[in-house]
Every structure is written in C-alpha cells, then in structure tokens.
Amino acid sequence: MIPALEHIPSGCAAAGIMNKSGVCISGDAIMDMMSVMHSRSNGLGGGFAAYGIYPEIPDYYCLHIMFDNDSAKREVDSLIEENFITERQEKIPTRNIKEIKDPPLLWRYFVLPKPDKLVAKNMDANDFVVRLVMLINTRIPGCYVNSSGKNMGVFKGVGYPEDIGRFFMIEKYSAYIWTAHGRFPTNTPGWWAGAHPFSILDWTVVHNGEISSYGINKRFLETYGYECVLLTDTEVIAYTFDLLVRKHGLPLEIACNVVASKFWKDIELMSEEERKLHTALRMTYGNLLLNGPFAIIVATNNYMMGLNDRIKLRPLVYGKKGDFSYIASEESSIRKIENNLEEVHSLVAGKPLKVEVNKDVCA
C-alpha cells in the first residue's frame, strides 16, 4: 500500500470512565479504551484528564504547565512567587519513549493565592487562578497552562494517546474519573498545547467535531476575560461552561440548552413557561451556541457528562456496570474493559447525559 494512498479512517477518539463511589483506578483502563479506537486518531494529539490523583494535597490548585525553555519558566516562577503560596513544585515525571519526540519542559505547581492579593484585587480564588492562567497563556511566550484545578491534572501532547499515556506514566496514577482523547485535527495544527483535554479550573473537555461558530464564541468569551490562544476550537467549550455554570450560576442542564439550544420549531410547541425559558436563553446567550458537529465529554471533580450536537453528527455511546459509567466514541472501546454491561446505548442528540460522583467523595 502506497503510504500516501493509505486510507486513514478519521474522526478523533473520545473516552471517559467514572466510578460514582470515588474508587480510584489506574490509567491502564482508559489507555485500553483508547487503543481500540487507535484508527480514529492520526498521531498529532493525545491526552488524559484524571480526577483524584493528588489526594495527599487536595485543597491546593495544581497547575500543570508546559514551557518551551527555561527562560519562559523563570518568568512564570516569579509570577507565581509573587502571587501564590507554593506548597510544592516539581517536574511532571515522564518516561523517555521514541514515539514522543522533543517534549517541552513539563512542571506542576501546588499553589494557593496569597490572601492579601485576593483582598487587594477583591477576587475569589477561582477568578484569581483563571486570571493567572490567561496571563501566562497570552503574556509569557512559550508557556501554556494545561490544567489548573484541585486534586486533578491534564497530561497531553503530540502523539497517539497510548504513547502519550506511556510517556506520562499514567498507569501510575489512580483516579475516580478519567477522560481521554485521540486527535485527528481537521482545521487546526497539531501541537503540544493544542491537544485535548482543554481545561480551566477543574473543568476538562474532550471533543470530537468541529465548532464552526468558534469566532463568535471566542469574541463573546473575550468580553468576560477568557483568552482563546490555543489555536483549537475546543478551547471555547471549556471556557463556556466555566462562564455559564460557575460564574453565572446556571444549572448544567440549562448551560447545555445554550450550547445545544432547542430549535425554534420545537420551542414554538412548548408550554408557555418553557417557551419563555428557551427563548430567553437563546436571546441572552446566542453567541455561545456551538454550531457544527460535536460529541463532547465534560468532566469536573463532581461529575462526567456526555453531550452531542442537536442533530447527532458525531457518535457517542454510554455504558454502565455497577458503580462504573463509561462514555466513548465507539461501543467496542467500552467493551474492551467491560463486556458484561448492564446498560449500553447511544446518546440522544442535544440531550446531556450526566453521571455524578456520590456527595461524600470529592473535594
């Protein structure tokens, strides 16, 4: 087969596992799920999000940051030094494998904002961290924050997901929620900071699809202080949920009615009260409608959620067995790690499927 003519069945791979009683499992399982969907990626991006991996220090924000060089790191170090109490900072452990070529510097910082800084800026800790992330991503060249949540972390880069997983040794971590992504970039370059998951605070998003409304979403989000500089459309989804749910206090289901809004033809058939709600949502947040095909898995410390676009232009399947819930682009990837499923079905277009962790579990 002439390599050039080799057919690459395209389409990005997304997967997620959650244990609702908070039982943490090794990264092996999510890597097995991704291996089945190997042909959905083309080696230009792979990544994992893991929740519950820093139990010994659960109340600190853990910043996973990648740097092109030492000078970029020095600038970030001084910025953190000035604004944060640092409990610990260390190189993220990695394993040299030939499939992963010239990785950036990869560090993590366990930090809390200095109280006097919060008072001075009259900001809460979350907003302060978001501000720092945006500052680093835009003002300090050659460095990007991969994740900034508590008791969680994102491990991502250029490569197939299985190789990125071995590179970051994720089999050594134990988490009660794992999500993963294998990238087949459609209209944006494959680069380390452009791999999925995208994250802000404890939000993470993996996405199979194309957001044709990226420009409108980006402009709207910028008016609320979010800077979209990671050259990948998925970025807007993480910031959209942070804005709608954390900042504006919308319930998750309502936020999903913004990104995957009801069609006007269906709104007209609704009850008076529902019609008012959905009309108000579309009028207020029209700029945050995600147009185009998508299948996303959104996770936080407390839950994992799958969502498809309104006309189901990308696959997403849900499976359940006991305390474990699985979401994936293909049923076979779920069956690789659990073939005796109590429940397995495809997600309904535009309808979120959310599975929550029991209350007493998370931070």
């Binding site: 969907m37 189901k312 495809s346």
Partner: protein, 244 residues
C-alpha cells in the same frame, strides 16, 4: 469452515485473513472475539460465502459488499451495509447510525434498535431494491434523502408514536413502512403519511416472513397491528431550487 480469532487483530489484518481464507476456497468463515474491527467483509464479491461473526463489529460492516451472507451475533457500530450492492447482513443485536447508507441492493436485518439517519441515500434500480428491516426503534432523520428501496421499522418494545424527528427529510423515492405512528411535526416536508394498501400488505408479508426466519419468531403476525407508509410527494423535491 474456518474459524478466525480476531483477538488483537486490527481491521487490516482481520480483513486480509478473511480474503486469504476465501482464496483457500473456504465457503464458510467464522470469526470470534471481534472488538471494533472495521470494514469486515468489505468489497467481497462472492455469492456463496457465509461469514458468521461473534462480538462487537466495528464501523462499516459489509461495506461495498456484493453477494455475501453476513450474520453478526452481537452489536454493530455505525455504517452497517454502507453502499451494499447485494447479499444479506443480519445483526442479532443493536446497530448504530447510518445503517444501509447509500445501499443499492441486498438486505439488512437488524434485530433490535438502530441510531440516526438509517437508510440515508438508499436507492434502487430495476430489480435491485435494497431492503432494511429494524426490529426495535430508529432515531431521527430516518430515510433522509431516500431515492429508492424499502425501509421497515417494527418498533417492537418501543413507543407506539416514534420519538424520531425529521423522518423522510429530502426523500424523493422508495417506501418507508412503520409499525405504529409518527407525529405530523416529526416528518420532513418532502413526505406524506399514507395507510398501507393490499400491495403494501403483500410486500410486507414477504419481507416479514424472511425477517422472522432470521430471528425465529413469527414476524408476519405483526401485520395485525397498525402500519403506516411514508412516500415522497415528488421525485424532484428540489427541482426548482436552482432553476428559477
């Protein structure tokens, strides 16, 4: 008969092993431990071949196929019978989206539920009339852009009024038979809902007896329930779209 164990095989390796078995003259191929391998049996032109599969078949099962008889014990993913030319594909389980995409002949029988856009772009030509039968429920955009062929949804153990939307959008040929009913808001403006006549009854009787044999139950009995037919209003719904 030859048995192939698909464990740890990728799509290419499995399909090469199938084609090698055909070259060796095998008429029956049994494949076990299938887990997501794609294009199983694709592009094979062989009237006498039977492929039995156990496991979860990957996308595009039996794509571009011409004459083979495929039977899957387990669920299938998207694209079952993509551009099927002839032969039968029988799935003892669920199937995903776009079952029978652009099929132009042959039969696809799904025991349980299917996803979205099933039968999209199906077409027919003279005696080449593809038939898709779904035992359970089907999702929205059922029969989108259909130009020919017969699509039957039996809704066994499913809501009497289908939950699907945009049924028959862009349809300009072929017939959709539904056991149960559809809400008038949920059909494309290119189709009309009709009752079934004697000719339809005969067509359905033949199809359901064939379908019943595959899943050993008396499917013809279902004909005592209410069936409706969806047909295209015109065979050129977009004819004046650009001309005027």
């Amino acid at each position: 008969m030859i048995t192939i164990d698909a464990t740890n095989m990728d799509s290419r390796q499995l399909n090469e092993k199938i084609k090698e078995s055909i070259r060796q003259g095998h008429k029956e191929i049994n494949i076990i431990n299938v887990l997501g391998q794609r294009f199983i049996g694709n592009g094979i032109q062989n009237g006498g071949l039977k492929i039995t599969i156990h496991g979860t078949a990957g996308n595009d099962l039996g794509m571009f196929m011409d004459g083979v008889d495929i039977e899957l014990f387990g669920n299938a993913q998207d694209g079952v019978g993509n551009t099927l030319n002839s032969g039968t594909i029988c799935v003892h389980g669920n199937a995903g989206d776009v079952v029978g995409y652009a099929a132009r002949g042959g039969k696809i029988f799904i025991e349980k539920n299917v996803g979205y856009r099933v039968g999209i772009h199906m077409k027919e030509y003279e005696e080449n009339v593809p038939i898709i039968v779904v035992g359970g429920s089907a999702g929205s955009f059922l029969g989108e852009y259909m130009a020919g062929g017969i699509l039957v949804v039996l809704n066994i153990d499913s809501p009497k009024i289908m939950k699907a939307d945009a049924i028959g959008t862009g349809m300009h040929g072929g017939k959709i038979y539904i056991r149960g009913d559809v809400n008038v808001n949920n059909i494309g403006k290119e189709v009309v809902i009709l009752d079934i006549d004697d000719n339809d009854y005969e067509i359905l009787k033949n199809i359901l007896s064939d379908y019943g044999n595959k899943f050993n139950f008396n499917a013809v009995e279902l004909l005592k329930d209410r069936f409706i037919k969806l047909k295209a209003i015109s065979h050129r719904p977009y004819g004046n779209l650009y001309a005027y």
